[in-house]
Each structure stands twice: as structure tokens, then as C-alpha cells.
């Protein structure tokens, strides 16, 4: 079998080359970072491919498909978590790798190409983060993109770049397809290409070093072999990183997902933690000095880093390089810390973020039922209270506004038919919050002088005893009886019938405020049991179906009783 393959593929040569892998200085923990970075990159590619089995890069589907992966597909949240935390891990490992290379001066010795390709990969890793961040199309993605395109617009050629990256003038379908293509095809290919150059680069230097420093240095062949020591170190390091990622994934139950993107909303976006430094930097350079933060400082840093192999030709200049890099690292760290501390010291921010997270939880809860085709914010329509609130604002709010600042044009429905409401009505039926703004002015007010407080209390108690389902009258039967007597004494019964199904000149008070009473009112206020032909409120029997009328009636009753206890599960038939 071996010889069959051997005649067709250079297996022996490959085997020999692999077995011959050597390190200039034997095995060491610090050497594992490059391999761990490569491992993480491969892992991100594999996990990303798996996620792409379910993710859909369109404006209507991106958020919903991500929520699907996170909350419904088996193993989805684990992979999302590994992908999200893997990104952070990759940034950390690349950063540590850079630090290790700088402190050991491994950029020297004709390894310019190795250094530059490494730097290029570092930049691509950041590009991975930026493209991936947009793909969820949640509020964070949308508003972070707004910030980034805003910054880019201030740079020369920025508008053009924005148009290319967004696929148009705004974040839409084409943005997602482009970001997805970059993230899943272009960037991985570019990293792979640079990785090959990187590996070839330092392999060549190993070759040259082996030639230039014959046997004496290369004596302990076994000790220098990759397989005798470094390989195990690398495997252990990869495993440790995996354990950390799995732990982080379990702790955060996957990756964060905000509420769906909404163009007209107020949202406080925050970039990934490793970009906080830029966010903080730009706070200090706003307005005319903006270009210092957007161009000057990043540009100078990049130029410095790119020229390191040329700067670090001599020992003394290498110290300068190390100092420069240390400065950059400290700058990055302090800006990051400043940003974090500033946010922690801001209590309003904490509130806003808590509200945003609550909206995210709500959205994900409703998404489990399935999101309607327009996608994104439409998920909130799954909330049954959404429908009734829309109905109310369409049909009722014009007269029965719920806004406490608004001028009432009809009885205010907040707390409708509660004891307090009824008491207030008896006292001042012509007040604007009762019937003052309507043409129903027949009922006389009953002030303190005519109806002392104790009497009013009894009267209210009697009214509440008339078949009310949600309010229990006082167990004190005497109070109710007193109220009944007062009802006759003040001739309330001359207009208001209290026997079920009897009509009079004013609404029948049996079960007033009950669900059925309110339903009947919405259906037809001109009913003879209610306001009769003189009713000012229109009837809705023809405009609304039975279910909607019931929903609205429940809504009105809940204005008094409060919402029902929350259900345990989000899934509804």
C-alpha cells in the first residue's frame, strides 16, 4: 500500500521534511504561541463553517438565524460561544506572540518577511473581528457600524470605502453579504496565504542557520527536533486554551446577542474589548483634532511596527524597539483600562445597558416562536400585548388617551371602575377626566355637603357589590345595606337601573367595569342598557371582530387590575 501511494505522491519527502522540523533553540513554552494562534485560527474556521450551516446573511434573516442558532439548534450556543471567545483568545495569543518575538528579538536576522507577514495577519485578525461583529445584525452590530463608518467618512477616500464595505449608502442586505464574504472567504484565504509566507520565511532562516552553523551547534539533533519536545508543549497549550474557551462559553452560555437592529432608536454601542482603546482615544480627540486620533496615532504606530526589523539592526537600537513596543502596549492597556473604568463609574450607563439587555432577552424569547418574514424588529409582534396596544392606539386612543398629560376628550380609562374612580365620578361627573369633555352632562355632582365622606364610602361599597367579578365588596354587610339605602335616598335609581337587563336613562350598573360590561360597551355603547341613542362613543361591532373586542376589553380591565402573572414558557401555539 505504501509503495502504491509512494509512486504517486511524494509521501516519503513529506514525511522526511516533517520529521526534520527543528528549532534553533530547543523546546520552550514561549515558542508555543505561534502554534496556538494557528490552532485557534483553524478552530475558528471549523466552527465558523459549522455556524454557516444555519446562518443567513440577509437583513431579514441575519438576526433571526443567529437567534435560532443560539436558542434552538442543539449545540448551537456552544459553537457560538467558542467562536466568540475564540476571537478574544486569538487576539490575546497574537498579542502575546508579538510580545515574545519583540522581547527575544526574533525579528532580527533577516526575518523581515516573517515579521511583516505576521503583522499583516495581526491586522487581518482585527478585520475578522470587525466583519464578524456586523453579521448578527443586532443593535450592537448596527450602531457600532454607524460609528465606524462615521469615523471612516472623516478620512480621505472614506466615503468610497464606506460605500464599498456597506454595499450602498446604508447598512442593508448588501452589507451583510459583503461582510460575510469577507469574513468567510476573503479573510481566511488571505490569512492562509500570509501564514504560508510566514512559515516559509522562518523555515528558510532555519535552513540557512543550519547551513551557517554546522554540526557543533546542531549536535543535539534530538533535542532540537520539533517532535521531541515542542510538539507536546504545543498540544498542551492548545488543550489549555480549549479548556479556557469551553469554560468561558459555559459561563456566558454562548455568545451575546442584542435585540434586532433598529435604525431609529437610541442605542449605546460598545466595541469589542480589544477595540476599547480606540473608542477611548477618540473621546480625547474630537472635533478639529480628530485626525490625531484617527490617522496620526494609529498611523505612526503602524509605521513604527512595520519598520521594526529595519530599526532593530543593532543591539542598542533593539532596546529602542523594545521600548517603543512596550510604550504601545502600555498605551493600549491604559486606554482600555480608562474606558472600562469610565463606564463602570457611570451609573446611567449601567441602567441603559440593563434596559438594552432586557430588550435583548425579550426579543430572543419571542424569537423562539419563529420570526415573521420581514425579520428583525418584527419579532416583537409575536408579543400578544403588542397587538392589543396597536389596536388601542388605532381605535381608542384618540379620545381615551392613556397619556396623563393629554387633555381628556372622554373618560380616562386608567383605573376605570375602581372604587376610587367611582367615588370620583360621584363627586364630579362633569370633571374633564370623567364626562366633562363629552355631551353627557345629565348627572349632577354630589359634593361633600350633600354626600359626606362616610356616606360616599357606603355608596361605593354598594355599587361594588352589584355583581362585580374582580372586586369583592366589604364583608361588612351593614355598609353595603347603608349604601343601598343611600342609592334610593339620592334617587340614583331614577336613572341607573341595577337589575340585570333593565334599561333606564343612564347605564345599567350591574357588573359595571366587568369584562363583559366593557366588552358590551365597546361593541355597542348605544345599547339601551348603556348610553342608548344619545351615546357619543361610536360602536365597534362592525370594525373589530369578537377576539379583538375581547382583547381590548381585557386591556381596559387590566388598566385597573394590573397585568396577569407572567407565563413560564415563551412558546405559544
Amino acid at each position: 500500500m505504501n509503495s502504491w501511494l509512494e509512486e504517486r505522491l511524494p509521501i516519503a519527502w513529506v514525511g522526511q521534511t516533517l520529521r526534520g522540523m527543528r528549532l534553533a533553540e530547543g523546546a520552550d513554552w514561549r515558542h508555543c504561541l505561534g502554534m496556538v494562534a494557528a490552532f485557534l485560527f483553524v478552530q475558528q474556521c471549523v466552527v465558523g463553517t459549522l455556524l454557516a450551516l444555519y446562518y443567513s446573511p440577509s437583513a431579514s434573516d441575519a438576526w433571526a438565524s443567529t437567534a435560532y442558532i443560539q436558542d434552538r439548534v442543539a449545540g448551537g450556543w456552544v459553537l457560538r460561544g467558542l467562536h466568540h471567545h475564540g476571537m478574544s483568545a486569538l487576539v490575546v495569543v497574537c498579542g502575546l506572540h508579538l510580545v515574545a518575538i519583540v522581547t527575544r528579538r526574533s525579528y532580527a536576522g533577516r526575518r523581515e518577511i516573517v515579521w511583516l507577514s505576521g503583522l499583516g495577519m495581526g491586522g487581518l485578525v482585527l478585520a475578522f473581528s470587525m466583519t464578524g461583529y456586523t453579521l448578527t445584525f443586532d443593535q450592537n452590530a448596527y450602531w457600532a457600524t454607524q460609528v465606524r463608518t462615521g469615523i471612516a467618512a472623516t478620512l480621505p477616500g472614506g466615503d468610497l470605502v464606506n460605500r464599498l464595505l456597506l454595499g450602498g449608502g446604508e447598512f442593508g442586505n448588501l452589507t451583510l453579504t459583503r461582510q460575510f464574504v469577507l469574513h468567510a472567504f476573503v479573510l481566511p484565504g488571505a490569512v492562509l496565504g500570509l501564514l504560508v509566507v510566514h512559515v516559509l520565511g522562518f523555515w528558510r532562516r532555519q535552513q540557512v542557520a543550519a547551513q551557517e552553523f554546522p554540526p557543533p551547534q546542531a549536535l543535539a539533533v534530538d533535542e532540537r527536533s520539533y517532535w521531541s519536545g515542542q510538539c507536546f508543549i504545543d498540544v498542551v497549550a492548545m488543550f489549555v486554551v480549549t479548556v479556557i474557551l469551553v469554560y468561558a462559553t459555559i459561563q456566558t452560555h454562548g455568545a451575546p446577542l442584542g435585540a434586532p437592529a433598529e435604525a431609529d432608536s437610541n442605542f449605546l454601542a460598545r466595541p469589542e474589548w480589544f477595540f476599547l482603546f480606540l473608542f477611548e482615544l477618540l473621546h480625547h480627540f474630537d472635533g478639529p483634532t480628530r485626525f490625531v486620533g484617527t490617522v496620526l496615532i494609529p498611523g505612526a504606530t503602524l509605521c513604527f511596527l512595520a519598520s521594526v526589523p529595519w530599526l532593530g539592526r543593532t543591539r542598542s537600537r533593539q532596546r529602542f524597539v523594545t521600548l517603543g513596543c512596550a510604550l504601545i502596549l502600555c498605551g493600549w492597556a491604559s486606554l482600555t483600562v480608562m474606558a472600562i473604568v469610565k463606564d463602570q463609574r457611570n451609573p446611567e450607563l449601567a441602567e441603559t445597558i440593563a434596559a438594552q439587555e432586557e430588550a435583548a432577552r425579550e426579543a430572543r424569547r419571542w424569537a423562539k416562536m419563529g420570526v415573521l418574514p420581514p425579520g428583525g424588529p418584527v419579532v416583537f409582534h409575536n408579543d400578544p400585548t403588542y397587538r392589543v396596544r396597536t389596536l388601542y392606539s388605532e381605535h381608542c386612543a384618540k379620545c381615551h388617551s392613556l397619556d396623563p398629560e393629554a387633555e381628556p376628550e372622554a373618560p380616562v380609562l386608567r383605573d376605570y371602575a375602581s372604587r376610587a374612580w367611582v367615588a370620583g365620578l360621584i363627586r364630579t361627573p362633569r370633571a374633564p377626566q370623567y364626562y366633562g369633555a363629552t355631551k353627557h352632562s345629565d348627572m349632577e355632582p354630589y359634593p361633600e355637603s350633600e354626600l359626606p365622606a362616610a356616606d360616599l364610602e357606603a355608596l361605593v361599597e354598594y355599587l361594588v357589590s352589584l355583581g362585580r367579578t374582580d372586586i369583592r365588596p366589604a364583608s361588612d354587610g351593614a355598609l353595603v345595606a347603608k349604601g343601598a339605602a343611600l342609592f334610593e335616598e339620592h334617587s340614583c335609581d331614577s336613572c341607573h337601573e341595577v337589575e340585570q337587563h333593565s334599561s333606564g336613562d343612564a347605564p345599567n350598573l350591574w357588573g359595571h367595569g366587568n369584562l363583559e360590561w366593557v366588552e358590551a360597551m365597546i361593541r355597542n355603547p348605544s345599547d339601551e342598557l348603556l348610553f342608548g341613542e344619545s351615546a357619543e362613543m361610536p360602536s365597534f361591532a362592525d370594525d373589530l371582530d369578537k377576539a379583538d373586542i375581547r382583547r381590548l376589553a381585557e386591556f381596559v380591565v387590566e388598566l385597573r387590575t394590573g397585568p396577569p402573572a407572567p407565563e413560564g414558557d415563551a412558546t405559544r401555539p
Binding site: 459549522l50 449545540g75 519536545g229 498542551v236 415573521l372 409575536n382
Partner: protein, 196 residues
């Protein structure tokens, strides 16, 4: 032997002879493979679950429940079959469409009872039509599937052509005068009617 000073590292070999290295090497290799396996498992475990999710779970929903299609009275005894669209809420992965057409059925009343047959041909799923006059005089009145020329009689039974069985009858019921059909899909190309 060389006294190459390596920095402390668990994996580095001391400069001992190869015989003494053998059990250590075995240990390193075995544990290395185990750790590799562990690292892969972290991704492969949930990965395989994710890949296989559609096997155990219905990702496209909507079939299998009774759907109202109209007044039962509109279907007259002995009249020509009527093609009725089955419109109901349909779930597709993360999507939910409130009024999606999930299929159609041929509905007729025979001997007082209402029968509904799936309009999906049991051969390969094309849509089944009523025979035209010419087709009826040549092959008998009933249904025809024009994809591969399968013919069915008025009661849905297969008369001619590649269809392995007659039209699939669907369960019906009447609720408050409204006809409800339970739309299901059945395996194509088999003589037995098996729901999928």
C-alpha cells in the same frame, strides 16, 4: 552528551539515552494524542449535534394539523372535485409565516361524505389536475398528473401510468359547519401510503 540548557519545560527531553526515553516518549505520545482528542472533542461534540439537528427535529412545520378550508356546505354531492388551497401558519427554521400555502387538496362529496385527496402525485410529487375532455374520453374521467402521465379515477384510485398507488386521501372533519383538512405528506414512489 550535550548539556544544552533548555528553559524549564515539561516536554523537553533530558540528555539521557534513548532506552530510558522510550517509556517517557510513549507517555508523551499517548497523553499528547489524548489532549489532541480532547481539543477536537470540544468542537466536534457540539458540531456533530448541530449538523444532525434536522434528523431528530422538524425544521419545517405546518403539516399535520387540521386547517379550515371553508364551508362544508359548498361541496355538493356528485359535483366536480374542487381544488382547495391549504393555507396555514408555517414555520421554516427561524421563520414563521402566518398564511402560507403548504399544499392543496381535491375535495368532493360522494355518498354524503366529504373526501379530500392530496393534490401531490404519489409518484414524484407533481401537482395532479382534473382530466380535460379529450383525456377523459381517452382514459376515463378523473385526475391526471401531467409530469409523467399518471391517471386516476374519480375516486382517486390509480388506473394507468407510473404512479404506484392511488391519490393519498387526507383526514377531514367538520367543526361548526367548517370543513377542516389535515394535510400530510406521504412517501413518493411506494405502493404503501406512509406518512413522512
Amino acid at each position: 552528551m550535550t548539556t544544552e540548557s533548555n528553559d524549564s519545560s515539561d516536554g523537553a527531553n533530558s540528555g539521557a539515552g534513548s532506552e530510558a526515553k522510550a517509556p517517557r516518549r510513549l507517555f508523551l505520545r499517548a497523553s499528547g494524542l489524548a489532549l489532541c482528542g480532547g481539543s477536537c472533542l470540544a468542537v466536534l461534540g457540539p458540531g456533530l449535534q448541530l449538523i444532525a439537528y434536522p434528523i431528530g427535529n422538524e425544521t419545517v412545520t405546518g403539516r399535520g394539523r387540521y386547517v379550515a378550508v371553508g364551508d362544508a356546505e359548498q361541496f355538493n354531492e356528485g359535483a366536480l372535485p374542487v381544488k382547495v388551497d391549504i393555507v396555514t401558519e408555517r414555520g421554516d427554521a427561524w421563520n414563521r409565516t402566518e398564511a402560507a400555502k403548504i399544499g392543496s387538496a381535491w375535495v368532493m362529496r360522494r355518498n354524503g361524505r366529504i373526501h379530500a385527496y392530496s393534490a401531490a402525485c404519489p409518484h414524484l410529487g407533481c401537482s395532479v389536475d382534473l382530466t380535460s375532455e379529450a383525456e377523459a374520453s381517452a382514459h376515463g374521467p378523473g385526475f391526471i398528473c401531467r409530469c409523467h402521465d399518471s391517471f386516476f379515477a374519480g375516486d382517486g384510485s390509480a388506473t394507468q401510468g407510473p404512479s404506484p398507488r392511488g391519490l393519498d386521501e387526507l383526514e377531514v372533519r367538520e367543526v361548526e359547519g367548517e370543513l377542516e383538512i389535515r394535510f400530510e405528506r406521504f412517501r413518493y414512489g411506494t405502493p404503501e401510503k406512509t406518512p413522512v
